[in-house]
Point group: C2
Chain length 289, copies 2
């Protein structure tokens, strides 16, 4: 099955838990709304791409890991958009969860998505139970204390921000988890996949900073100029647009070079090259030069 | 080791993750603040009491389950206290997390506590890995969609509240998880322990309603009269004080009768009797009569 179809299927099955009679209807609707329709699903695609490069001997386990990672990402978006943080009115081209369902349901939907991620992973790993604990540790670490996305978001509340720790925690950690858990889900050695995840995470963050100043808000699905508005650290503010584009390309090259020997290495390199073009389209590169 | 000592130890070890250099300091402090000093630790004490009644052959696993349940309970308190919900100024006799650390850190501390619960459980279950998945399913189900505490809290956002579903999800679910996971952690059959957890959960909810109208706010560690203020469903509003006290005693009796045959049945019954006196002290019973 095609990866994006696998991802949508496993997410739909996970979210179906909300359809049980007796589930509070607003919460159920908000959880579904936060997950569908999705964004680029870049983290679960990375997870499945690594699993496939490693042979993908237990597709249900890889699917569950990919879904858990995407559910945790969706949870972080819902909470980041809350009035006390970004107070974002839109997300993925539609009203943010708190605009559509109210702040209380948005808090709870984020919580429910975190729990659902661990539930989905546990269920999906039943086919290879010895892989469950390492997957839980890998994915849990990428979200929680001391270095996961929650910690990354908390750096935004500190007077002094350690820029590298901020980026690594807020964006990088879940990319590392996606790459590493793709390998673990397929029974491969995880350690070698860290650099790939780390480089892609940083590249993705730089691309996000670039598109925050150079993209069309309609295509982006959210307002542009948010980094400037919120005084957030940004690669463009630090390096200029041209410098940021150069940094992005360097990081994507590092990611490709970091692919460890595996059956699907070449195909994975091709996927990463395609992803680079999607993340920073040619027009922006031209505009920056 | 004495149960409350075990609980404080395993919670301290779990929260120590926040001490890593590189963890954002406000988040680390808020997570610690939300867990220590604790309340009555009633859920983890129930978990350990059931594990001990079942032989407690893997104390590290029982400790991890107990800690996970308490961390999830702390997370729910932090989020329930947020301005968009109860806007509670105090909790456990001190300023609530959002009053002490701000709303943003309170949102993130709740998120971090949820993740930490699953992390702690995974680490602690290493001694008996075949018990990990059932513990994760039991505990995850008690928190998430469709019937866990997050769902319970979401019923407060609905115009029409299904009262029994509300109570069962908001309070009962974590008590059921505590009892059942105590049995699972000790390698016992879980199913027989559901009724005990369910009855104690409802009894605890009724006791909470009673103390909301009849207790001293200094002893309670939070303001009284909150149910009336927030128009929340309450056993006292429904049955009167005397009726609520009678219902409480009936539920505690049901819990004791529900103890399945196990090595420590008698000791567990004694613990539940003690707990009944702690939850609804004699003066309140006299006051109600």
């Amino acid at each position: 099955m095609e990866p994006s179809k696998r991802i949508e299927n496993v997410l739909a099955n996970a979210v179906a838990l909300a359809d049980a009679p007796g589930c509070p209807p607003s919460l159920a609707a908000a959880v579904r709304y936060a997950v569908f329709p999705g964004g680029a699903r870049v983290r679960p695609r990375l997870c499945l791409a690594v699993a496939q490069a490693c042979g993908d001997d237990q597709p249900a386990v890889a699917d569950a890991a990919a879904a858990a990672i995407e559910l945790l990402h969706c949870a972080s978006l819902v909470h980041d958009d809350l009035p006390c943080f970004d107070d974002a009115a839109t997300r993925r081209g539609k009203p943010s969860v708190h605009k559509a369902y109210g702040e209380r349901i948005a808090v709870l939907a984020g919580d429910a998505l975190i729990v659902l991620a661990f539930h989905t992973l546990t269920q999906g790993a039943a086919a290879a139970p010895q892989r469950l604990a390492p997957l839980l540790m890998t994915i849990g670490r990428s979200v929680g204390l001391p270095f996961g996305i929650v910690a990354g978001q908390a750096w935004e509340c500190e007077a002094r921000v350690a820029l590298e720790e901020y980026h690594r925690a807020k964006t990088g950690s879940l990319f590392v988890a996606a790459a590493v858990s793709g390998a673990v889900a397929a029974g491969a050695q995880p350690q070698a996949w860290r650099v790939l995840g780390d480089s892609l995470g940083e590249a993705y963050q730089v691309a996000d900073d670039i598109r925050d100043v150079a993209d069309d808000p309609a295509l982006l699905g959210k307002p542009v100029g948010q980094d400037e508005t919120h005084g957030r650290p940004s690669a463009v503010r630090e390096l200029g647009l041209e410098g940021a584009v150069a940094r992005f390309r360097e990081l994507m090259d590092t990611a490709i070079e970091a692919i460890p020997p595996c059956p699907g290495a070449q195909q994975l390199a091709g996927l990463i090259q395609l992803e680079a073009k999607r993340l920073v389209p040619r027009e922006i590169v031209r505009h920056a030069a």
